[in-house]
Each structure stands twice: as C-alpha cells, then as structure tokens.
Symmetry: C2
Subunit: 363 residues, 2 copies
C-alpha cells in the first residue's frame, strides 16, 4: 500500500519559514514513529502569481484534489496589494476551499496555560479556554452570485450575495454536532435571524439537525451578541457553529482572546474521499505577516499544530496528534518563546528554526 | 418660536424603565437650565405590535419624521420571538432608521475611569479608551434586495444582498471624517475588500473622500483583523468607519471591551432638516434585557447619555451635554452603582430610579 500523501503549499511571507519546520516534524514522524508520508510541494498565492500569473495553477488544483491532505502556510503581502481582485493571492486560497468543497472549517480557540498572561484579557477570563469554532467555508457571501461592481445611473454600486441552501447549512451543522458530541456537548449557533432571512433559514436547519443529537445542548445567539459574549465570558462556549462571513470575524476575535494567535491551527474538511479520508486542508490561523517575513522570527507552532490536526482528522493518528500537541505545550512550559510570545521585557526570543527544533526535542 | 420637539419611544423590556429617568433629566433641563422641549411619547417594537399589530404604526412614523429628535429605549423580548419576520419588534427600529434615512450611526466605545476594572480586558489595555465607531445604517445587507427564503429544486435557499452605492458609502464617510477632525484626526475604515467587491468599492470611495480631509490619517483594515485589533490593542483607534453589518458586530465587540455596556449611548444621524438640525434618533447600545425588566434594576446611564448626545448633535447644546456627561461620571466616581456595574461581592446596588436621581443631584 502506498503512503498517505501530503501536498505542501507554503505560500507567501512567513509561510515558507514556518512550513520548513513542519517538514522537519513530518520527517521525524517518518524516522521515529514509522509514519511515512509522500510529500510534494507547490505554489499558492503571490508565489504562484509570480510564476504562473494566477494565484493557483490548474495543475496545483488537480494535485490538491488527489492528495490525502493539503498543508497551507499563508498567502498575501504588500507586493500583491494592487493586483486585480481576480488574481489576488487570497483567490488561490478561496479556490482551494471551494473546489475541494471544504465546508467545515474547524478553528480551535485554545488558551495555552503558559501563555494565559499574554492575552489582553484578564487571566481568569481566558485561562483554560477551549472553544471550537466551526465555520461554514464554501458558501455565503464569499461565493454568492450576483457579485461585482456595476454602473447604476451615474454611479457605481458594489454587490455581493449572501446565499445559503438548506443542505449547505445542514452538512456544516452535522460536522459541528459531531464535534460537540466528542467535547462538552454544547453547541451555540450564531446568525442574524433578526435581520437576515438567510439567518432565519440557518436557525431553522440547525434546530432540525439538533433532533439527531438529543444529547447536545443547543443555543442560538445573534452574531453581534456572540461577539460581545466572546469578549465578556468566552468560557461559556464549547462549540460555535456559524457562517462563512460571521465565522471569519468571530473566529479571529476568539483567536485573539487567547493571546496565542501564533499558536492557533485550523482544519478545513470536506466530504469523504474514496479511501474514506475527508478532503482536507490544514493551515495556521495567522496570516503571512509581511512585517517579520524573511527574518527567522516567525512562530512555527500554529503550522505545526495544524499538522497535528492533520494527524487527527486525516490520518486517524489521534495518539500521535496528542503527542505532537503535548510536545508543543512542553516547549512552552519550558519557557521557549518566539518573539510573538514575549512581553517587551521578556528576554531573548528563539528563532523559527530553534522553536521547531525544541518541539522535536520534546517529542 | 416653538420649543424643540422630542418623540420618546420607550419600546420593550427595560426601555420604559430607563426612559422614565431620561424624562426626569429632560424636566430638570427645562426647570433649571431654561431648555424647554415639547415631549411626546408613542409605541415601538413589541409594545406597538400588541396594540397595532405592527411594530411601528404609520402615525408614529409620521411623528418621528416631524420631530427634532427621537429617543428610543429598546425593542424585543421573548414574548415576540416567534412572530413573523415582517412584524418582529426589530422591524420597527429598522423602519425608523430606513425611512428617516439615518445613515450615520455614532457609537462611542468609551471606558469610564471608575469602571475600567470591570472590563474583562486588562485594565491597562482599556483604561482611557475612547473610540468612535461610525456605522453606515441605511444600506448594506440589512436592506438589500433580493432577499428572502425561496424554493430551489427540492430545497429552500436563504438569500440576502449586500449592496452599497458610491453615494451611500460617501455620505457616511464624510460624517466619519468630520468627527475625526474634531477628535484625534485618525480614521480606520474596515471592510473585506479581499473577498467582497462591495468592500473594494467601499475602500475606493473612502480613499477618495479622504482627499478632502488631508489632515486626517486614513488607514484600511480587513474587518476580521479589525476584530482582532480591537481585542488586542483597542487604544490604537480613534474613529472607525464601517458598514451596517460589520458595524453591528464590531461596535458590539468594542462596547463590551469597555466593560461599560450599560453606559454606552448611540446617535443615528441623517441629513439636515429645513431647520438645519439633522434627522436624528438616539438610543442606548444595550438591548431590552428581558431577564431584568420590570425589576427596577436596569442602568439608565446609557439612555441618559444618549440624551446627552441629543443635546450635542440635535440641539447645539454642547456645554449642557458636557454637564450631563460630567454628572454621570461624578455619580460613578462617587461609587453609585446599578447591579450591572458591580462585581459579585460589590455591595448593594441602587435601583434605576436611584441612579437617575443621583445623576440629577450631581447636575
Ligand atoms: C485571507 C482571507 C481570504 C481569509 C478569509 O477571509 O476567509 C482569511 O481571513 C481567513 O480567515 O482564512
Ligand atoms: C436589534 C437589531 C435589529 C439591531 C441591529 O442589528 O442593527 C441591533 O443589534 C443594533 O445594533 O442596533
């Protein structure tokens, strides 16, 4: 039997730097734990645009469809800010999400014990925080038609369409309920059903799906109140299910609460492939951080923990995923810190490579 | 010359309770400062539905169009949760915003010195915080067509339309730049121009308007990053300008940062009327709080401070507005607290009426 396959798309900015550390981790699992992967690498985002004139070449898209998991670094940067909308680095990422049909974006917002003080929130508000946000990732205003900038009378009008079918809402909801079953059996669904009909349908469908999960305690919250409650008392949440646009904002808000932005991974999952594995892409929550790229300062932890999610969700290696996560936590507990994890007076930070090495040493 | 006119719409839940205190304040300004107002009162939200079967009667709408300022309490509550979308309490509020064409919603997020400890954020992160969020309030996904729940094949699809014309973006931007000129001359515009064409147009128009305000330092931020930055370091902002939906979420997030939700007012301003005053509605940022309504526990400060905004923006009484705001701060500094402003062990809270009386005593 052939090895499971991974396509690495380092992308732009700090993407290649943090991904280099993940490769070391992948190699370690091959050498020490007998987990061999067939790893290939390709371009996405600005890096792809520079070579191909598009942020994701068709050949890369085809490869992404064939592998067992895609690992993506980050896309975008100031060099690409003035590109036309259709070839912006972000379009490469959105194409992957859409064509791989990765409808369930899992974004854990977890506060690492060793970093609780680092949050802008009071330590007792965030210590031990462990939320899972499930963001619908293939529909809504990100992809709805009509869209564009049109002439109307003597001025322009910008139009986007929020659009959700029942089945789009339902499949993400099932993924969220399944996760809730394996966690603390609480799910909060967020929309604006008081203002948007798409939110009414959202609430209807989630309520219907809940009947198949009687053990899960379901609540509904308007997204604006959701943002407030995340800031006020984030530990009230277990799993949150929300749409593509609200999920974009609320998951970033939740990520920042933890004070551990450089630590947070994500998984984007689709339907099972012929081999039973879900279509899957894993990426850190942080972006390409052009301000620090090329300086060996980036924190590779979020990308490393994204690979841990790959071990868990794509490769059925929950024990090895736990091992890798424990190693990262160990490194933090030992006081090893990249620059983003330090207060101004915090001493000397380690480099990206040193952080990766420390994780391997702790494995 | 006739007195300036105010229409009071107390609405639902704690709305009538907090508005009763505002009436006392209005009377005080009449008796002690010679500021006489013609005050009338009417129904909105569930209270209007109970009597008229609609959340805002046409006659009330007409009155709102004629007065110099509307003061609104809050709308909604569990008794109305299952009403049809078209007659929900919120529709009354949205009708007022739309038909009065109140395009600039000013939401100050201010941290009161005496309450800084009450935030879930670290005191040094929020102490002295003073942001002004300007939310476009008459367009975007709140009002765009087509909208609704439709049949498609054998399932339903929920659709809403994000729609912004150049002039809609521009008039709100001018209001935001004007405010920035009177504050710290910094404006941050937030959208998702990396994903939505309406965001591209938004950024274009704001950049164009900025040419008329060369003294104002303009920056652009994606709304998801905006949510992060609000949590990480809110004091980096002065004025924020954003659209109806992003503004709904980001202003609630910013409000909660301050720890002073029960303290925050808002103003919704439109074009000048024949008498030169802008069309205007003032309301607290908090909602109808059904859990505490009818118990005399609600904090009237946000509603009182909304009247202070009315003094400033509708009645050109900046000095009197300062006086009222100072009185509220004095009361806080004196340790007078409604229940929402206390930690669990904070002593005995005052009632809604006692809080109102304390403000009057401090005036
Ligand atoms: C880069 C951008 C297109 C993307 C999004 O808006 O989804 C990012 O913010 C994210 O959350 O993954
Ligand atoms: C009550 C609701 C319709 C309203 C909104 O969504 O605008 C509220 O959340 C607000 O921010 O004023």
């Amino acid at each position: 039997m052939s090895n499971p396959s991974i396509l690495i798309l380092p992308g732009d900015g700090i993407g290649p730097e943090v991904m280099a550390e993940v490769r070391k981790i992948i190699d370690w699992f091959g050498a020490k734990r007998g987990l061999q992967f067939d790893v290939s690498e390709d371009l996405v985002g600005g890096a792809a645009y520079d070579v191909h004139g598009v942020p994701l070449a068709d050949a890369t898209m085809d490869k992404a469809q064939e592998v067992d998991a895609v690992l993506l670094g980050a896309v975008g940067g100031p060099a690409y800010d003035n590109l036309d909308f259709s070839v912006k680095p972000e379009r490469g990422l959105l194409r992957l999400r859409k064509e791989m049909d990765l409808f369930a974006n899992l974004r854990p917002a977890q506060c690492f014990d060793a970093l609780a003080d680092f949050s802008s929130l009071k330590t007792d508000v965030v210590a031990g925080l462990d939320i899972m946000i499930v963001r619908e990732l293939t529909a809504g205003v990100y992809f709805g038609e009509p869209r564009g900038i049109f002439e109307e009378g003597n001025e322009r009008v910008g139009i986007n369409t929020q659009r959700y079918t029942e089945s789009e809402i339902e499949r993400g909801a099932r993924a969220a309920f399944e996760l809730a079953m394996r966690r603390n059996k609480k799910l909060c669904s967020m929309e604006k059903a008081n203002v948007m009909e798409s939110g009414i349908l959202w609430r209807d469908v989630v309520t219907e799906v809940a009947k198949d999960y009687p053990e899960v305690e379901l609540s509904h919250m308007y997204a604006d109140n959701g943002a407030m409650q995340l800031v006020r008392a984030p530990k009230q949440f277990d799993v949150i299910y929300t749409d593509n646009l609200f999920g974009d904002i609320l998951s970033d808000c939740a990520a920042m609460l933890t004070g551990s932005l450089g630590m947070l991974p994500s998984a984007s999952l689709g339907a099972p492939m012929a081999n039973g594995r879900p279509k899957a892409m894993y990426e850190p929550v942080h972006g390409s951080a052009p301000d620090i790229s090329g300086q060996g300062k980036a924190n590779p932890s979020a990308c490393i923990l994204s690979f841990a999610m790959a071990l868990r969700y794509s490769f059925d290696q929950g024990v090895e995923a736990d091992r890798l996560e424990a190693a990262v936590e160990q490194v933090l507990a030992d006081g090893v810190r990249t620059a983003d994890l330090m207060q101004a007076d915090g001493g000397t930070p380690v480099s990206t490579a040193e952080m990766g090495d420390a994780v391997i040493a702790a494995l």
